[in-house]
C-alpha cells in the first residue's frame, strides 16, 4: 500500500511492497546537506563523489542546497560515527552516508533521530532495527543482483556442470547478500557444482584466484564475479581455453571487453553498483526534507547490460577509462549524467 502514497514512485521504488515509509515535517529550503564518506582510495568512490558534485551543481538541484559539505574519513568506523556526530552537532538538515559497517551506526542514528536530522544511507547501507523514523536507505538490491546474475548464467551457460563464484571482501554485508542471492538462483539446479574463490572485488586478486582455479579445476561453464571483472576476464583469456559466460560488475573496461570479444564467445553480463546511487540519495534527501513521503528502503533499478544490449556512448564509453563505472545514470530519476558531466566536475 505504501507505494501508491509515496512521492515519485518511478524513481523511489520501495524495496518491498509492504515496507515502511518515511515522512518528515516539511522544512524550508535551501538545505544544508552533509555527506560522511568513508574510504576514498578507489575509483568507484572517487567517481561517486564526482557524481555527487556534478549532480548538486545542476541548476535545479543547486537552488535547493545552501551548503554541501563532504568529508572522507577513511576506513575507521569510529571516525565515521564521529563525522556524523559532528554534522548533527553542526545542525545539518540531512546527512548522506556510505557506511563503513552495516551495524555500527545504531547509536548515532538514535542521536540523529533525537536531533531531527535526516539520514540517507546508500551503497553500503545499514541493517535496520525497524525503529528508525529518520532513515532512508537507497540501494540496489544486492540479493536481487546476485540472483539476477545467477539466473542469467543459468540461462546462458551451454552446459551446467560447474560454475565459479568469485566473492568479495569477506565479512562484508554486500558480499554476503550477493552471495546469498546467487546461491538462491543456482539452487534451482542442484546438479551444478559451485567452486568458490575470494577476489576481494579487486582485479589483481580476482584474476589470480580465477587463473589458479582454472589451472587446477580445468574449465568451468560460467563465472560469476562480484567485482574485479576485468581481471577475471583476463584470467579466462590468458588460460587460452576459450571463452565462457561471465557475469560481472559494471566497469566500463569489462563492458568494452564484452563488446570486443562477444563474437569470440565472451558472453558477458554486466550489472553493478552505480556511483550515481549518491545522486538518488541526494534527490531522496531533498524530497524528504520537503516533507514528501518516501519508502524507507528505496530499491534503485539495477543497471544491467549484457553482450546483446550494450550501446556505445550510453551503457559503455569506448573513449573513457576502463576504471570508469559505466552505469552512471538513472533516467527514471531524471539523473542523466554522462561520463563528460562527471569527469568535468572537478573543474570547480
Amino acid at each position: 500500500p505504501a507505494n501508491a502514497a509515496t512521492y515519485d514512485p518511478q524513481c523511489f521504488r520501495a524495496a518491498a511492497a509492504a515496507g515502511a515509509t518515511v515522512q518528515l515535517p516539511a522544512k524550508h529550503g535551501p538545505y544544508r546537506i552533509a555527506f560522511a564518506n568513508g574510504f576514498i582510495g578507489n575509483g568507484w568512490r572517487v567517481q561517486m563523489i564526482q557524481t555527487l558534485r556534478a549532480y548538486a551543481a545542476q541548476p535545479d538541484v543547486a537552488k535547493q542546497i545552501k551548503e554541501l559539505r563532504i568529508v572522507s574519513v577513511g576506513t575507521d568506523v569510529s571516525a565515521q560515527i564521529a563525522a556524523m556526530d559532528n554534522f548533527i552537532n553542526a545542525g545539518f538538515d540531512a546527512i548522506l552516508i556510505d557506511a563503513n559497517s552495516p551495524t555500527a551506526f545504531k547509536p548515532v542514528l538514535r542521536r540523529a533521530q533525537k536531533a531531527g536530522v535526516l539520514i540517507v544511507s546508500f551503497d553500503n547501507t545499514f541493517d535496520r532495527t525497524g525503529k528508525e523514523t529518520n532513515l532512508i536507505q537507497v540501494n540496489q538490491d544486492q540479493r536481487a543482483m546476485g540472483q539476477m546474475m545467477g539466473d542469467w548464467l543459468n540461462s546462458t551457460m551451454k552446459e551446467k556442470k560447474s560454475v565459479l563464484e568469485v566473492r568479495g571482501v569477506p565479512g562484508n554485508s554486500v558480499d554476503r547478500d550477493r552471495h546469498e542471492g546467487f546461491r538462491a538462483a543456482m539452487a534451482k539446479d542442484p546438479g551444478v557444482q559451485i567452486t568458490e574463490v575470494v577476489g576481494n572485488w579487486d582485479d589483481g586478486t580476482g584474476q589470480k584466484a580465477v587463473a589458479d582455479a582454472l589451472a587446477v579445476h580445468g574449465n568451468f561453464d560460467g563465472i560469476y564475479t562480484q567485482g574485479g571483472s576485468i581481471g577475471v576476464t583476463h584470467a579466462v583469456m590468458d588460460a587460452g581455453k576459450g571463452f565462457i559466460p561471465i557475469a560481472g560488475e559494471g566497469e566500463n573496461g569489462f563492458r568494452k571487453l564484452i563488446v570486443a570479444h562477444a563474437n569470440d564467445g565472451l558472453l558477458g553480463d554486466s550489472a553493478g553498483q552505480s556511483p550515481a546511487l549518491v545522486a538518488v540519495a541526494l534527490k531522496a534527501a531533498l524530497a524528504a526534507l520537503d516533507g514528501r513521503a518516501l519508502p524507507q528502503e528505496i530499491a534503485v533499478p539495477i543497471p544491467e547490460a549484457n553482450y546483446k544490449t550494450l550501446v556505445a556512448g550510453k551503457t559503455y564509453f569506448p573513449d573513457v577509462s576502463d576504471t570508469f563505472f559505466a552505469a552512471s545514470d538513472f533516467p527514471v530519476c531524471s539523473i542523466n549524467l554522462g561520463a563528460k558531466d562527471i569527469l568535468g566536475a572537478s573543474g570547480k
Binding site: N37, I49, V77, S78, G91, P102, P107, G171
Partner: protein, 327 residues
C-alpha cells in the same frame, strides 16, 4: 619542583610538550570554528573517537618502549570487538563478566605475542605480523557477518558524558592515572624502559628482562582489547574487518611517534602517545570545519601526517654531532 627540575623535565620531554602545544592549538582552532559553538556533544564526539585511537596507541607504546613493536594491536582490538559483541547483550553481572572476558581475551592474545617474542625469540615486527593474521582469522570465526547485540543503556552511558565531561575521557584518564603512573614506578615498568634502552646492560644488571618484556606485550593486549571494547560500545556491534585492524595499527604507530616515543625503545610514554592520537584525530576534524574540497582531503591528511611525524626530526636536525644521527 624548583627551576632546575622544570628545566630537566622540559628537556627530557621536549617532543611530548611540543606535541601537546600543537594539539592545543589545533583543538582550539577546531572549537573556535564550530558553526554552532562548543557543546557537550562536540566534546563527547571528539573524545569518543580520540580515546579509541589513544587506547590503541597506548597499547602500541608498551612494546615499542621495550624496543619491539606490536603489529597485531589492531587485530586484537577487532578480535575483542567481535568477542564483546557476543557477550555484552545482557545486564548486571553478565555485563561485568562480558567485559572481564573480553579483557582476558586481550591478555591471552598479548600473552601469545609475549611467548613468541620473549621465549620464541622471534623478531617482534614479523612475529606480530603473523599473529595478527591469526587473530583476524579468529575474529572471522567469531563473527562471520557484521552484527551483535549490545545493551544500549550500558553503551550510551559509557559513550556519553558525566556532568559535561565525556565518559570515555574519564576512562582514559583513569588508565593514565591508575595504571600508567603507578606502573612506571614499579620494577617491571622501569624494566620495560631498561630493556628498550639497552637490553644487554639490563640483563647484566639483573633486570628481569623476560618478565618486563612479557608484561609489555600482555598489557598491550589488554589495552588493545579495552579499545576493542570501546569500539563495541561506540558501534553497538562488531565487524571482522581486516581493513579496520590495519588502519588502527598504523595510526597507532603514527600516534606513538608523534607523541615522542622512540621506535628504538627506552624513551617516551603513554601520555605522549595519547596526545599523538588526539592530534591525528583532530586533523580530520579540522578538514571538516575548514570545509576542504573532498578530493583534496586525503592529500591534506597525508601531508599533515608527514609533517607531524617529521616534528620528531627537529631535535636531530639541531644535533651538531653528526655521529649522533647514525645508530
Amino acid at each position: 619542583m624548583n627551576g632546575s627540575d622544570i628545566r630537566l623535565f622540559a628537556r627530557h620531554n621536549a617532543i611530548p610538550l611540543l606535541a601537546g602545544a600543537v594539539f592545543a592549538a589545533m583543538f582550539v582552532l577546531y572549537l573556535a570554528l564550530q558553526p554552532r559553538g562548543v557543546t557537550v556533544g562536540t566534546l563527547v564526539t571528539a573524545s569518543n573517537k580520540g580515546v579509541l585511537l589513544a587506547l590503541i596507541a597506548c597499547a602500541q607504546t608498551l612494546p615499542v618502549l621495550t624496543g619491539g613493536i606490536d603489529l597485531s594491536v589492531g587485530a586484537i582490538a577487532v578480535l575483542a570487538n567481535c568477542l564483546a559483541s557476543t557477550l555484552l547483550g545482557g545486564s548486571g553481572l553478565s555485563l561485568v563478566g562480558g567485559v572481564a572476558a573480553t579483557l582476558a581475551a586481550g591478555a591471552l592474545a598479548g600473552g601469545f605475542n609475549a611467548v613468541a617474542v620473549v621465549w620464541g625469540r622471534l623478531q617482534p615486527i614479523i612475529a606480530t605480523l603473523a599473529t595478527s593474521s591469526i587473530f583476524y582469522g579468529i575474529s572471522l570465526l567469531l563473527r562471520p557477518d557484521p552484527g551483535g547485540d549490545i545493551n544500549d543503556d550500558f553503551a550510551s552511558a559509557l559513550t556519553g558524558d558525566i556532568h559535561g565531561i565525556p565518559t570515555t575521557l574519564i576512562i582514559l584518564l583513569a588508565v593514565l592515572l591508575l595504571f600508567w603512573l603507578p606502573f612506571r614506578r614499579t620494577l617491571i615498568g622501569r624494566g620495560v624502559y631498561a630493556v628498550g634502552s639497552a637490553e644487554a646492560a639490563a640483563y647484566m644488571s639483573g633486570v628481569r628482562i623476560a618478565r618486563s618484556k612479557a608484561c609489555a606485550y600482555v598489557l598491550s593486549g589488554v589495552l588493545a582489547s579495552l579499545a576493542g571494547l570501546l569500539l563495541t560500545l561506540i558501534a553497538e556491534s562488531a565487524q571482522a574487518s581486516a581493513i579496520q585492524a590495519g588502519d588502527l595499527t598504523l595510526n597507532a604507530i603514527a600516534a606513538v611517534v608523534i607523541g615522542g616515543t622512540s621506535l628504538f625503545g627506552g624513551i617516551g610514554g603513554l601520555v605522549g602517545s595519547v596526545i599523538g592520537a588526539f592530534i591525528l584525530r583532530t586533523i580530520g576534524d579540522l578538514l571538516f570545519v575548514l570545509a576542504a574540497s573532498p578530493l583534496w582531503q586525503p592529500l591534506f591528511q597525508g601531508l599533515i601526517l608527514l609533517a607531524a611525524v617529521s616534528l620528531g626530526a627537529i631535535p636531530l636536525l639541531r644535533n651538531r654531532n653528526r655521529l649522533e644521527s647514525f645508530r
